[in-house]
């Protein structure tokens, strides 16, 4: 008889089995073609954007943002986004500089701005402008529009339309990441059920460490993918900003990154537990995808109501979406991106709500796992699912 047939200490075995399952599911997932393709897509898109903009942009490239000379007669405080050169002058100094030929033109923001939006351009040239001058004027006026919009939105260095779109985009990516990662769990469970491997697994690993190992291994695979995306995005940001001046001033704070990571993990645990239970309950892959799609609707509700977040981040709707566990990840990411300071109290309440739900969902899913996983090709009754979740021990 070999040592293989001798018992180990249960705790040691629990952790060892968890590690074996996690390692195996992680490696199997990250080696899949679909995973490699999906992970490489974003970096490839970034590289493609950079290459294309380098190849085709030189002819249109306006070069660095034009320097502006501005006479501000309004009450609006002019804020120049990072990377833009704006010289604020009084009227007399501007005219003197124009007379000396130090500058070729200046812009006058009227006293009634923004109610009176007519910004005047004062130029020293008497002859009709050439093509080069016209191009410079267009570039200057675009830059001025960016400066004025940034100045009108206190505390924001971005024009609101661009900022909103960016936050929306990041929230979609965030929710997508949670779903892709939870999807690995769903795929793994349904595959083992369909391949009739699950009973062999359950005869070697109790449902607890089996599910914990899967959650850990596949969560790590999802995090690997997200980490590659985030690292690529952060590395590419300066290059992108260089080519899209409207994005100047975009930055991702470490606090936002940390909190996003926290909500990602808890969101994944909550949805992952639900998806694992769906995988155990559903008779086949198609049904499993249908059921999981239903829960996908909850995750995108905050995106549907994105307007409410920008209009009034403290509205009851926003608070409710931040506190409901299944909508909390997307809602809080939007809130964190919009608010100048994280809403700490709401965030703590949201974390508690989401964390508690994730814990209960994981326990419930492990029980459903044990009770329904071996019902090949048939769907368990609602009463059986409920009795599995509420069973003692």
């Amino acid at each position: 008889m070999t040592a293989a047939s001798q018992p180990e200490q249960p705790r040691r075995s629990f952790l060892r089995l968890l590690a074996v399952v996690a390692r195996r599911d992680y490696l199997r997932t990250v080696r899949r073609r679909g995973f490699i393709f999906g992970t490489a897509m974003l970096p490839a898109a970034m590289i493609g954007f950079t290459v294309l903009s380098t190849l085709f942009a030189p002819a249109m490239q306006p070069g660095p943002p034009p320097s502006l000379s501005v006479v501000n007669e309004s009450a609006v405080a002019i804020r120049a986004p990072a990377g833009m050169q704006v010289a604020l002058l009084d009227r007399a100094a501007a005219e003197a500089a124009l007379g000396r030929g130090d500058i070729t033109e200046f812009y006058v923001i009227p006293a009634g701005y923004p109610a009176d939006p007519q910004v005047a351009r004062v130029s020293g040239a008497s002859s009709p402008p050439g093509i080069d001058q016209l191009q410079r004027h267009v570039a200057q006026e675009q830059a001025l529009a960016v400066v004025l919009r940034a100045s009108l939105v206190a505390g924001s260095s971005l024009p609101p339309s661009v900022g909103e779109r960016l936050i929306h985009l990041f929230t979609i990516l965030f929710v997508l990441s949670i779903f892709i990662t939870s999807g690995y769990l769903l795929q793994s469970v349904t595959e083992e059920k369909e391949n009739r491997v699950v009973e062999i697994l359950l005869s070697s690993v109790p449902p607890g460490p089996l599910m914990a190992g899967k959650v850990l291994g596949l969560g790590a695979a999802g995090l690997t993918q997200v980490a590659i995306w985030v690292a690529t995005a952060l590395a590419a940001l300066p290059l992108v900003v260089e080519r899209v001046p409207a994005l100047s001033g975009v930055s991702v704070s470490p606090t936002l990154l940390l909190l996003s990571f926290l909500f990602f993990v808890l969101g994944y645990l909550a949805y992952g537990a639900i998806f694992a239970a769906i995988g155990a309950i559903a008779p086949g892959t198609r049904e499993a995808q249908q059921y999981s799609g239903f829960f996908g609707f909850f995750a995108v509700i905050p995106l549907i109501f994105a307007g409410a977040f920008f209009a009034d981040p403290g509205s009851p709707l926003v608070v409710a979406l931040a506190l409901i566990p299944l909508t909390a990840p997307a809602a809080m990411l939007q809130l964190l991106a919009i608010a100048p300071e994280p809403p700490w109290l709401l965030m703590a309440a949201s974390l508690v709500s989401l964390g508690t739900f994730a814990l209960l969902a994981t326990i419930g899913a492990a029980r459903i796992f044990r009770a329904t996983l071996l019902l090949y090709g048939s769907r368990p009754s609602i009463s059986r699912i409920i009795s599995a979740v509420t069973a003692r021990g």
Binding site: M1, A4, E8, L17, N195, L202, S204, V205
Partner: protein, 307 residues
């Protein structure tokens, strides 16, 4: 790693175990034991509760009441690692090689990754799958699948094997392979529990039998003991002008002609003496009269009908 071994502990002890799914009681007050170095045949009609009972021993599902001990402890992690299980519904990861699948299963049973891989290679080669080590399961034939599944059951040299309908769907070559495996595992001291509908296999391989129906124990003991209990069930008679219909003899429930003799299955309560007196009274010439040892199939049918 110094690990404790418990050779003296009873492989399986089940006492008064019951399990209910909803309103249906699947296992009811069942008790039995499995000893080291024996093959226990687990028999019963479909839906009798055999698979449920096996899953409870494996800790895949939990009993509602009663006591189950595996190697002296409650079924759990430590016990699972000493058990090899071949489920009735069995398969493999289709897009993973046989070697990788076996290495994973071996690791789950407590082997190190290296040991699991080494043993898997040995066993795959022993069973003629040396050329298929790196083929994905989807590329293997059904017979090869079956061999890999059997290897997965014994890879870690378990002290207890639980085989649920192991001969179902096996080709003759793999059926013989499995028979040899059961015998070799028993001979090295492992306990084997084997559920089957194939009475010939059970008769040939099992040291003791447990027959259950509707979750209750109907028969339990060695084949010889069980046969003794049903010994008066049939009589084989050679003679001339023997009655061929059961209605012609009061003590007979069924009659069949076989190899120049008649085999009479007696009614409940009737004895071989009753039949002999009837035949003598009818003036039939009898050259041989022998109480037949019942086949396991007959015992199964009679026991289930009686239950």
């Amino acid at each position: 790693m110094a690990l404790q071994h418990q050779p003296a502990a009873q492989p399986v002890l089940v006492e008064d175990v019951s399990k209910r799914f909803g309103r249906m009681e699947v296992v009811s007050g069942l008790s039995f034991e499995v000893r080291a170095g024996e093959v226990l045949g687990f028999l019963g009609p479909n839906g009798a509760g055999k698979t449920t009972m096996m899953r409870m021993v494996l800790d895949i599902i939990r009993p509602d009441s009663g006591r189950i001990e595996v190697f002296g402890g409650r079924p759990g992690l430590a016990q699972q690692q000493r058990v090899g299980y071949l489920p009735e519904e069995r398969g493999l990861y289709r897009d993973v090689t046989a070697l990788d699948t076996l290495t994973y299963f071996g690791s789950l049973k407590g082997l190190s990754g290296g040991d699991a891989r080494r043993r898997a290679v040995e066993l795959l080669r022993d069973l003629g799958l040396g050329d298929s080590l790196h083929k994905k399961a989807g590329e293997l034939s059904r017979g090869m699948h079956q061999k890999v599944q059997v290897i997965a059951t014994v890879l870690h040299q378990p002290d207890l094997l639980i085989l649920d309908e192991p001969f179902q769907g096996l080709d003759p070559v793999n059926a013989q392979l499995l028979r040899d495996l059961v015998v070799s595992q028993r001979d090295r001291g492992a306990a084997v529990v084997m559920s089957t509908h194939d009475m010939n296999e059970a008769q040939a391989l099992c040291d003791r039998l447990l027959l259950i129906d509707h979750g209750r124990r109907v028969l339990y003991g060695s084949l010889a003991e069980i046969r003794r209990g049903y010994a008066s069930g049939a009589v084989e008679v050679v003679g001339e002008a023997l009655p061929t219909e059961p209605g012609q003899l009061r003590s007979v429930a069924a009659a069949s002609a076989l190899d120049g003799m008649m085999r009479y299955t007696l009614r409940d309560g009737a004895s071989a003496g009753d039949l002999f007196r009837e035949l003598a009274g009818a003036g039939v010439s009898v050259s041989r009269f022998e109480v037949a040892a019942p086949t396991l199939n007959e015992i199964f049918i009679r026991a289930v009908a009686r239950a």
